[in-house]
């Protein structure tokens, strides 16, 4: 089931009402059943894959706790659990890609190899496998007690608001909350509804309306002039942000209706002054996952310069590959890693020096430099998104070629003027919120303003939503 569907508009209120009607001890059954229904709405049989990973990781947690006195055994259970979870991920997400790459390599060497692996990627596989792994690692590290109740553990992995697209939760936050008794809270209800409304506006009005133009140009970049191609590239930056941010916000709101606070995934990423800051603000739950479970165990930054560079590149390449089984994603991750290293190297060389002639207290100059940093980071991220969005290297090449060599010829993208208004509202909201959540920003506003904003969002969402179907971009991951 997708959030921006009529089914979800019926499903969610039904679950919330039932949730508060039944006693706490039975709520896990309701939420687990609801989560199964939510997931099975896509392809029912794939719930079996989820079940397999849940059973393995639940058992591993208990076994690690049982063998807490034997580090060797404990580690063995962790390795078995992580390996099997990664194996599931590999089979469904990467086996086809690996097969195609090997076939292409063999064919380029003149060998006649023609095998094919066609498996449909279960929706949200990368998200729930990572969430499952974080539980196993936390139990192994002793930060989390193993969950004894199978139902609660299954619910931790399957909690429907964040099941298919995250945020990737940690057991310390979500599993703990699932055990807590939540009573009806009017304030949570209002905040949750506001978040859902805001999410719908961002996803359905901004992102989906941009999507049409982006798809058009990416399908035939050679037909458009460079200005249009650049416009499509910028539009994609906002489309993917609006799409993911909107969806995450609906997830946050949906969970909050039942009293659950799940993690923020975005904090105005396009206001970042450098790539490092961007990654602290974009898809935060994934960035922190890689930081805590890959980067720091590899030594983080407390190693020699060469090794540190290697650590950064590994994390970014893994992050790229996490997104999708395609060379374009790997390339995208590598480019971000490389830029991250260059920026850090430059900052460590020049960062401590004051620009000559500029007084350190000049707020104007500092503001200007910050603005330049924001623009530069946005442009670089936008260029990198081309690798992410392109279907393959040929498409990427065509986009870059068109962006830099067709200033005089080609078609001009004709934009509906309303789109600028929606985009402007989105950018304005990002600047106003500056990392705050929409629900908390609303709280201290006068009632009339609050209601007016919400009414406007309802109207804009209903009247100006794209009528075309744009599946959530991160579903494919």
């Amino acid at each position: 089931m997708v959030f921006n569907s009529i089914e979800y508009l019926i499903f969610l209120p039904l679950v919330v009402v039932l949730y508060y009607l039944i006693p706490h001890r039975h709520r896990w059954i309701l939420l687990l059943t609801a989560s199964c229904v939510f997931y099975m709405w896509f392809v029912p049989k794939y719930i079996l894959i989820l079940l397999v990973t849940i059973i393995i990781d639940y058992s591993a947690g208990l076994l690690m706790e049982r063998d807490a006195d034997s580090p060797k055994k404990k580690k063995r259970w962790m390795v078995i659990s992580i390996t099997s979870t990664l194996l599931v991920l590999f089979i469904f997400k990467y086996l086809g890609f690996l097969n195609d790459s090997v076939v292409a390599l063999c064919q380029s060497l003149g060998l006649n190899v023609n095998t094919s692996v066609k498996l449909i990627l279960p929706i949200g596989l990368s998200f729930h496998t990572f969430q499952s792994m974080s539980y196993v690692i936390e139990v192994y590290r002793g930060n989390q007690k193993a969950e004894r109740h199978f139902g609660y553990y299954a619910l931790y992995v399957m909690f429907f608001p964040q099941l298919v697209t995250g945020p990737i939760e940690r057991p310390g936050n979500l599993l703990r909350q699932l055990h807590e008794e939540k009573s009806f809270n009017e304030n949570n209800l209002a905040r949750g509804l506001r978040l859902i409304l805001f999410g719908f506006f961002i996803k359905m009005v901004v992102a989906d309306n941009l999507g049409g133009y982006v798809d058009e140009v990416y399908a035939h970049p050679e037909e458009y002039n460079s200005w249009s191609v650049w416009l499509a590239m910028v539009f994609y930056s906002f489309q993917i942000y609006g799409d993911f941010f909107g969806y995450s916000t609906i997830a946050l709101g949906s969970a909050l209706l039942m009293g659950y606070e799940i993690s923020d995934n975005f904090r105005s990423p396009y206001l970042s002054k450098n790539i490092a800051e961007f990654w602290h603000r974009w898809h935060i739950s994934l960035s922190t996952w890689f930081r805590d479970y890959v980067y720091i165990p590899m030594g983080g930054s407390r190693v020699k310069f060469g090794r540190w560079m290697y650590n950064i590149l590994v994390v970014f390449v893994l992050s790229g590959i996490w997104h999708g089984a395609n060379w374009t994603f790997l390339f995208w991750g590598f480019a971000h890693g490389l830029l991250h290293i260059i920026e850090k190297a430059l900052r460590s060389s020049f960062g401590k020096q004051e620009p000559s002639g500029i007084p350190s207290h000049s707020k104007f100059i500092q503001g200007l430099l910050n603005l330049l940093g924001v623009v530069r980071t946005f442009l670089l991220v936008t260029l990198f998104w081309v690798m992410f969005r392109s279907t393959d290297f040929a498409n990427m090449k065509a986009m870059f070629t068109a962006a830099f060599s067709q200033f005089d010829g080609g078609r001009q993208l004709v934009i509906d003027p309303k789109l600028w208004l929606f985009l402007g509202l989105f950018m304005l909201s990002d600047i106003i919120l500056r990392g705050r959540r929409f629900d908390s920003w609303c709280e201290d506003k006068p009632v009339l303003l609050r209601w007016s904003i919400c009414a406007l969002m309802v109207f804009l969402t209903i009247v100006f939503s794209s009528v075309n179907n744009f599946p959530f971009i991160y579903f494919q991951f």
Binding site: S5, I6, W451, F459, T461, I462, V463, S465, V467, N469
Partner: protein, 336 residues
């Protein structure tokens, strides 16, 4: 409790206000952009038509050799002098589309007769689960009978079946697998799927006894398009029932035009068993709707093979003579 009631009242008032704003300034543009079909419904009323013909591609398709390229509806009009005729033609349309087209004809018009095309194939799984359905159903959302703002919300939240071509195909396959075929005599295949698989396996042979792939595929198309039995729960039957009720309400004389199918080819390629099903289905429709006061024109076997344009796919696209035959039959029944 008081606070809750105030909230509900404010929300209701806001929704009414939004609906008014939307209806005043945005609804018409949305209709024209996303449900352009509705323009045809408005047009027949604006043109003061007395007879409206609803059809799909069969109405407007003509052959390259045709001297007379007119639509079936125009040929009918020629035979009904003094009656102002109009048509609403939409590719791949079926009874549900016709229902909403008729529903959207403004009241206070001069229409007294409505001719609705009844395409036998549209009752089968191949058409019910056609990949064109997603686009058609999307067009219908704004034509339904809810307040305009609600219809726009339904469109925004995609309250219509969204499936890929493969998914639609799978639905058709499921229907062919699960729906039994009942003959009053022994028949070797229990379902359409079994029948189709047997044909695909055995293949159609040419004069030299070799497998003729093109003919095998055509035979398979005939089976997939006509090997079904119409029952009361068929979605198209329900739609035609709604059309009958609507016509009664609006005081229209209703004519169902059962289109001619290429029965010659069906018999030649598949045999009498398929023809039996086709005739049985038409009998069902004639009986059902004549009992409800509808004039049903049965053209099933009125047109010969030579008059069908498409040779590699069963359609209701006729050359000039074929269209004239259909038009004459319909005009004749309207006159009487």
């Amino acid at each position: 409790m008081k606070k809750l009631l105030i909230h509900i009242t404010v929300i209701a008032a806001l929704l009414v206000l939004m609906n008014w704003i939307y209806t005043q300034w945005f609804y018409r543009d949305d209709l024209l952009e996303h449900s352009d079909l509705v323009v045809s419904s408005w047009q027949v009323a604006a043109d003061s038509c007395e007879l409206v013909y609803l059809g799909e591609s069969s109405n407007k398709t003509y052959g390259y050799k045709d001297k007379d390229k007119r639509k079936i509806s125009e040929m009918i009009a020629e035979q009904l002098p003094g009656v102002r005729c109009g048509d609403i033609t939409q590719d791949a349309a079926h009874a549900e589309v016709y229902y909403y087209l008729l529903k959207n004809i403004p009241k206070g018009n001069q229409i007294h007769t409505v001719v609705v095309t009844m395409n036998l194939r549209s009752f089968g799984a191949n058409w019910i689960y056609s990949s064109l359905e997603t686009a058609l159903q999307k067009k219908l959302v704004l034509m339904k009978g809810y307040p305009p703002l609600m219809k726009r919300a339904l469109l925004a939240f995609k309250a219509y079946p969204i499936h890929t071509k493969d998914e639609w195909g799978q639905k058709a396959q499921d229907s062919w697998t699960k729906t039994p075929l009942c003959f009053p005599y022994p028949f070797p295949y229990k379902t359409t799927r079994e029948w189709n698989r047997a044909i695909a396996y055995e293949g159609v042979k040419d004069s030299l006894g070799n497998r003729d792939q093109a003919m095998t595929e055509l035979t398979s198309h005939f089976i997939k398009n006509y090997a079904f039995q119409i029952r009361d729960d068929n979605p198209r039957v329900k739609d035609f029932d709604r059309i009958v009720k609507l016509a009664e309400k609006r005081g229209w004389k209703l004519v169902f035009n059962i289109l001619a199918e290429n029965t010659d080819r069906a018999q030649e390629l598949v045999g009498d068993d398929l023809l039996f099903l086709m005739r049985e289905n038409v009998e069902y429709l004639v009986k059902r709707y004549e009992a409800r006061g509808v004039t049903v024109v049965n053209n099933l076997e009125a047109v010969r093979d030579i008059e069908f344009i498409d040779r590699s796919w069963p359609t209701e696209h006729y050359y000039e003579t074929g269209r004239k035959i259909i038009a004459s039959e319909v005009a004749e029944r309207i006159r009487n």
